[in-house]
Symmetry: C2
Subunit: 360 residues, 2 copies
């Protein structure tokens, strides 16, 4: 089948790694003969914003809905305040495309090294899937400022949790846990201090958990204690479900513990499949290394593999696995960028992965 992809390279290294991902996907497509991709290239970026005053045109949602998936590089550039760039592009896409799940698998890739001594000895200790609530909670977008220009200023952030929002993410998380060998789900909360929204979060978790009793093992962690457990007992966890903000923090920590934020992928999913889902590496636009040709494209490749898996809906899993294998062969061979203590360029890693795909 042919799939239509909206490609949004965005800012900084987003441009480099989106290019790299397209190259690898083209090779995967021709080598496997299993699918083809047609791209719409969208110049929605901070540079465009600075030129014309907006990131996305008014009919952005309609444009995106004509596609089967969205491939996203990164957004954010020093000359635009971050809260403007994010609220004019990535966050509205996640919310209006009903991408209420953000899946962030984390493990130690063959040929790469964790900073944690125990994981250096046994890389298998760390193998997690973080399921992030992606539509509400601390990112609901409400709040405001009063007396803003005075010393009496007060500003608020309103986190909103809804029954429907919590129930659907819990259900999704339990299904992910059930599909994995260990069948174990750890729910993260801060309901000891946050006694309204997080208490509802806990309550709905236990309601949904009832349906999985005997099938999925589950436990509950406070977010602060969770960071300790991730460092000290990585092997004690498998699938993890957390709020929008908590999972944002924990997934960066997870990537660091696994070796590099440069390899970590994410899938912003609309599980109903009524809107296109979006695939993006979790690293940002990294202005400091943008345009230097040294960005790690592995997170982008892994995100591309997840996109292929999602598009195939069960039929392209082997092809996606092939891409993951090609990446592993390349990192094992030592073809790695600086963040993984290698010395190769983005292009060199990309070419190496393409060669491995052709050998499969």
């Amino acid at each position: 089948p042919n799939y239509h992809i909206a490609s949004i390279p965005g800012d900084g290294i987003g441009v480099d790694i989106t290019q790299a991902a397209k190259t690898v996907l083209a090779t995967l497509s021709s080598a496997s003969q299993a699918f083809t991709l047609t791209y719409t290239d969208l110049d929605w970026s901070s540079f465009a914003y600075l030129k014309r005053g907006y990131y996305m045109p008014e009919d952005w949602a309609t444009q995106l809905r004509k596609h089967d998936a969205i491939y996203f590089g990164a957004v954010g550039w020093p000359s635009v305040p971050d809260h403007i760039s994010l609220w004019q592009m990535i966050l509205p896409i996640r919310q209006q495309m009903n991408q209420y799940v953000n899946v962030r698998p984390t493990r130690i890739l063959a040929g790469t090294k964790s900073p944690v001594a125990a994981c250096q000895k046994d890389p298998k200790l760390l193998d997690w899937v973080i399921v992030r609530e992606n539509s509400e909670g601390e990112y609901a977008g409400q709040g405001g400022t009063t007396h803003g220009h005075t010393k009496d200023a007060i500003a608020t952030e309103l986190a909103i949790f809804t029954y429907v929002g919590i129930e659907r993410i819990m259900r999704f998380a339990f299904e992910v846990a059930k599909s994995r060998p260990r069948k174990k789900l750890t729910m993260v909360t801060k309901s000891n201090a946050q006694r309204h929204g997080m208490v509802l979060w806990d309550k709905v978790f236990y309601e949904v958990a009832e349906e999985y009793k005997g099938v999925v093992e589950f436990d509950k962690m406070l977010v602060d204690a969770m960071t300790v457990r991730m460092v000290e007992k990585p092997e004690s966890m498998d699938t993890i479900v957390a709020t929008n903000l908590h999972a944002d923090i924990l997934s960066d920590l997870a990537a660091a513990l696994a070796g590099s934020i440069g390899i970590a992928p994410s899938s912003n999913l609309d599980p109903t499949r009524k809107n296109p889902s979006m695939f993006e590496p979790i690293h940002g636009s990294a202005p400091d290394i943008a345009g230097k040709g040294i960005a790690n494209p592995v997170g982008a490749f892994w995100s591309a593999a997840e996109m292929v898996r999602w598009l195939g809906n069960g039929k392209l899993d082997e092809i996606a696995e092939g891409l993951m294998q090609a990446i592993a062969n390349v990192t094992v061979a030592g073809v790695k960028t600086r963040d993984l203590s290698g010395e190769k360029s983005t292009t060199e890693v990309t070419e190496a992965v393409c060669q491995e795909i052709e050998k499969l």
Copy 2:
């Protein structure tokens, strides 16, 4: 001088370690002849709550204000929902005693081991003071639930940031940074996603920073990226300032990276000294090991050292350092509890520390 201390052992291992801290403080007092302590023992705990229906009596604030400081063990017990125990004791104390700063120093104690490979080679890499906003933000306590018993439930958490609240914590943090050899402050935010309260947070930070230009070096980190930097480049930071929730998470992570949550202290300070400040180890009540005599008392001793330092207001610094030295001598000698891969009991560690104090 003699100081009046309100002692609140609270729940679980809070009882064991408060007892241990009092023993060590008594030894420090008699060995140094520099101060004495008189305690008021307050039975404010989950057990008391289950018996009589409240944690603290109505005049709790008046009672506490009669003291020079509060020594706090831990609160939380499985038979009381956490948000009840915390909002009936520790959080009201922090807020009403105007303890708007929570100071959390973290370093790798001599004789203990970080789980991070690089820090195992060079323990000096990690030496931070986390300055936590302790009075507002995500712990402001506002929010609520509507349609709570139905599937239309929505619940909110309202984070509140005020100019005055932000300014005072920033000022305190800059002063801490200035007092340390490296004179470096890292400010943590999430103003890219949280565009109201956190934007005010950033703005006030830069205003206060103006006054410290050329004196204190400073930078800004997003909370998610901060976890990565803590794991990958611990040596790049010194003093850290963050919101109530962010610092709660980061300080647990910091303790884990430094070796154990069991050694980590905290000082809840009212810098105006109009109300008593409160000293507590950052670990919780740990119901699983409560009453077994194996809790690590080091976090409690370190908190006691900070209390002595605060009470002396410059005059007891050497005495407090003596206690820290005694602790280090004991851990170096391998007299450690299980969480530090030792096999000693709470009492054995306590006795060893007392002996070291007497030798000083």
